[in-house]
């Protein structure tokens, strides 16, 4: 299982970088940045964090459905290029725009593919082909730069669950959802898509208040209920070491040899 830290909303660069450095030092997989009143554009914060901290993955949770998805795709491409291919784009529908989630996800991914494209959806038509835009018009649009990742990692979140799963994309579930219901949704998607669902990130938000055994138990239960493969753990930066030493080793393999956990308990600092 891969583990991202979701640090408390930072107000400035130093706090943001400190969280990223703690994650990097602890050997966790990365950081998730969500919008906050102080830093309302997570993709901008992701670019700044990428400049300060090498190697870690950076997930940015953005709203889709209100503005133009092309703009989201361009920003994601630039951040992925600047970071050397470390971006995970997490797209949640804007409130009341759940109906547009699938169309937005399709347009973002189409635009990020390295080929000229033409899309005519219920909400967005690209290129629009407006008669007023008559000089040197394009019949197909081409978004540049291309991301570094051959297929940029895109997850759905919030009200985009069915849209994401139906497209074989990853999905970040909230911490308090019903795990059996989530398992049923993933099972339906697997039945519908078959091998096209292989590798899709089955992610959930988690909380960590210092109780490592409780988080381990929850992640193991998540794996049993819906095949959880990613966890986004809300915790302060100082918790990165505890998560990495006391949680991470226990959720990588299906089981651990008898006695190993007792050995860790006896030899590792609390």
């Amino acid at each position: 299982m891969r583990l991202l830290l979701e640090p408390p909303a930072a107000a400035g660069l130093d706090a943001l970088a400190a969280a990223g450095e703690a994650v990097c030092a602890a050997g966790l997989d990365g950081v998730l940045l969500a919008p906050s009143p102080e830093l309302p554009a997570p993709l901008v914060a992701a670019a700044a964090l990428a400049a300060r901290v090498p190697s870690i993955l950076i997930a940015a949770e953005v709203e889709v459905g209100e503005g133009h998805p092309i703009e989201v795709a361009e920003e994601a491409a630039v951040v992925d290029v600047a970071s050397g291919g470390r971006l995970i784009l997490v797209a949640a529908p804007a409130p009341g725009r759940e109906d547009r989630a699938g169309e937005a996800l399709d347009l973002i991914r189409t635009a990020l593919a390295p080929a000229p494209f033409r899309v005519e959806g219920p909400t967005w038509r690209v290129p629009a082909g407006l008669p007023q835009n008559q000089h040197n018009p394009e019949r197909r649009a081409r978004l540049t730069p291309s991301p570094v990742q051959p297929r940029l990692e895109v997850w759905g979140a919030g009200g985009a669950r069915d849209a994401a799963l139906g497209r074989g994309l990853g999905f970040l579930a909230e911490a308090d959802g019903d795990p059996r219901e989530l398992g049923a949704a993933w099972a339906r998607a697997a039945a519908a898509l078959g091998p096209a669902l292989i590798g899709a990130a089955r992610a959930r938000r988690e909380r960590f208040d210092g109780d490592a055994p409780a988080l381990v138990a929850r992640l193991r239960a998540g794996r049993a209920a819906f095949g959880q493969s990613w966890a986004v753990v809300a915790a302060p930066a100082r918790a990165a070491q505890a998560i990495s030493r006391r949680v991470r080793p226990r959720v990588q393999t299906d089981r651990l040899p008898e006695g190993l956990e007792a050995h860790w308990d006896a030899t590792l600092p609390r």
């Binding site: 901008v44 914060a45 670019a47 700044a48 290029v81 600047a82 040197n136």
Partner: protein, 317 residues
């Protein structure tokens, strides 16, 4: 951030270079670094400047980041306001918004926007930025109050009027000759109750050696020929199909470039100050410029040209 046919480059390396260039500019005492936006072009031209600037701002401490220019009508205003506020906060208040219109139909059309509505879109966006930064959408305010300074790009009467009526600064294009610049500055100052700063762009190349100066002019001509030939609409047609018009435009670009030994460069830049420009944005960075050459140019400008400049002349103009 361009990987052109003439000068290909690794895309990630381009963003690393931008951060390195920013750090060098800061060490050399430059006040700010300015970047231009375009989208949907083969060379990967950066369509999300604020994000690129966040990357470089995270590796600098004092340098300011401006746009010359950002195509404001092509952005969702709420999204742009939040991006700029985030950069402003992360950079410790080091953002200048250079707001321009954009001119390529293909860019507007990709986003479902009419180019002929760009003036209205600009005004609506500028209003929206103020509203978001004032907290009307629940955001914390940017570090700079009431928001990052705004510079209106362009030289059209509407741009002058917009900057004057809103109390924003001006960022004038690089092809204006000093007398033309003076006329515009006078118009702006006569319209503005509280005029902002008048900035002007200029291509510069410090070269005491005539052959190096000529090499720059030739490479720059090819660079602008590609851009103007592909994008500019001359007499209703794309540039390459209008060779005479294109040649005239390129001659103007070349005529207004400031190329030569440091004393000569300083003299020509002082002519701009004397004509009323208070702030100069100097461009020596092009796709064809090698890293070492750019470093040398920045050093030559900082050490050989800047000490000879007389920006106080602008106030007297």
């Amino acid at each position: 951030m361009q990987s052109t046919a003439a000068a290909p480059a690794n895309p990630t390396e381009l963003y690393e270079r931008f951060a390195d260039d920013a750090a060098l500019a800061e060490r050399l005492g430059f006040r700010s670094i300015w970047s231009a936006e375009h989208r949907a072009w083969y060379d990967g031209w950066c369509p999300a400047l604020v994000h690129a600037q966040a990357f470089a701002a995270a590796r600098t401490e004092r340098l300011r980041f401006g746009h010359a220019i950002l195509l404001v009508p092509q952005h969702d205003p709420l999204r742009l306001a939040r991006a700029l506020a985030t950069l402003d906060r992360l950079s410790g208040g080091r953002v200048d918004l250079g707001a321009g219109m954009g001119h390529r139909d293909a860019e507007f059309d990709m986003l479902g926007l009419r180019r002929d509505r760009r003036g209205r879109l600009m005004d609506a966006a500028l209003d929206a930025l103020s509203a978001v930064w004032a907290g009307e959408h629940g955001d914390a305010p940017p570090l700079q109050r009431p928001g990052p300074p705004v510079w209106i790009g362009g030289m059209a009467p509407q741009a002058i009027a917009r900057a004057a009526s809103r109390g924003h600064g001006l960022m004038l294009p690089q092809t204006l000759r000093p007398p033309e610049l003076r006329t515009i500055v006078e118009a702006y100052r006569s319209q503005a109750r509280r005029p902002g700063t008048v900035g002007a762009l200029r291509d510069v190349w410090v070269a005491a050696d005539g052959r190096r100066a000529e090499a720059f002019r030739r490479a720059a001509e090819a660079h602008y020929r590609e851009e103007a030939g592909s994008w500019w609409v001359l007499k209703g047609q794309v540039g390459f199909s209008q060779p005479e018009q294109l040649a005239r435009q390129l001659a103007r670009v070349s005529d207004t470039q400031v190329v030569g030994p440091p004393e000569r460069v300083a003299e020509q830049l002082n002519d701009l100050y004397a004509a009323g420009a208070e702030f100069l944005v100097l461009r020596a960075n092009f796709d064809f410029v090698e890293r070492a050459e750019l470093r040398e140019q920045l050093e030559l400008l900082a050490e050989g040209v800047v000490p000879l400049l007389d920006p106080a002349a602008a106030r007297a103009a």
